[in-house]
Amino acid sequence: MPRKEFDAGLGELTKLLEGMGNATEQMLKESIDALLQIDVNKARELIQRDAEINNMEERILDVGSKLILTQQPVAKDLRRILVAFKISSDLERMADLAVDVAKVVLRLEGQKLVKPLIDIPRMGETVQQMIFESIRSYLEENVDLAYKMSKDDDIVDQLYSQIVRELFTLMVEDPKTVSQAMLLTFVGRYIERIADHATNIGESVVFLVTGKRPELN
């Protein structure tokens, strides 16, 4: 088998992406948990953990670059590496956005939540599922799953609109809540952006499998 080394390299890339996807999904989950509890220790730990995700992205860039250099891939092999670069970049941005949620937690230190958070955790769960499915669609090269996952972005957008509406009403009714409500609106925005990146991963999967670039957003 002349491709032994090449296939081993591609296998390593896939494994790295799977690990990065799981780590990112976990960061989102924990950042929302930290928000619900206003757990600043947890938030600090998450902010530190971002470096690990950045390292994973660099590792993927290194392995992929080496494969391009030594194997001169074409066709689907080349797409596989290009897509790995793109997905790792999306995941890295998603992790940054989870860190932004954690930074909001730091700013809320010592405060009580102005309202019970219902839609933000719901949004978080939907987006977590999107990250999981986007990575699974990549691992299984499952275009149908990529399309199905990207449809959930509509649910996320609706939840985000609902959150914004609700928090604006709260701010109008009670100006003392403005500072915290603004921060919570930002959280909604961060999670909504994470969903967009998950949709980007779906697009990458379709490109990997078909060679065509769809618009899922």
Partner: protein, 251 residues
Amino acid sequence: MNTLIDIKNLNLYYGTYHALKDVSLTIPEKAVTAFIGPSGCGKSTLLRTLNRMNDMIAGTKIDGRVEITGTDIYSNEVDVETLRKKVGMVFQQPNPFPKSIYDNIAYGPRLHGIRNKQKLDEIVEQSLRQAVLWEEVKDFLKRSAFSLSGGQQQRLCIARALAVNPDILLMDEATSALDPISTLKIEELVQELKDRYTIVMVTHNMHQAARVSDQTVFFLNGEVVEFSETEQLFSNPTDQRTEDYITGRFG
């Protein structure tokens, strides 16, 4: 792009061996078309049918048509010498004549009746310039062609082919015996020449095909599996066998 070479249902046999199977292909003019495929797939055989080099191999039998600008080159009326003047060829190993640089280039034009020294000088300079060799050899044209490096010798062979003013240039693994710099020079030369000539190249180097050609044909077991724009073939081939070959899964 206009079609220059039109191959229709071409079958070629070496004795009982069926080397080309019902090949149909249209090759556009003033573009580079690359033939790729594993050893023994028929790509060099097809290249050699385009200037009837296979005529020299005993036991070769051909049916089907190979038309160049509408004329079937296998019809009885076609003069093979004239055909080969129109369809030049460069081989894997540089094969200069054991003559001076000048005489290597002037050989073809002399054979076709040009005797005027000034005219021959012009052809020699123009051909060497087209092959991007003039600046390197202009001061010692009387030196033996064997004094040149391998890469220079190959460009000399290209200049020699151009000296008889062909329409088509066939290149059969023309860079496989050369170092990377010489290969790059030939590839750049091909890019310049395609404005004036139709170039058909056989190459085992798929990245060369991807870099240099406009269209690529993938052959397997004497058949054309896929023929498309080079960018398309190397980025998203339509046939799984093409994908498997170019990604190194066989061959």
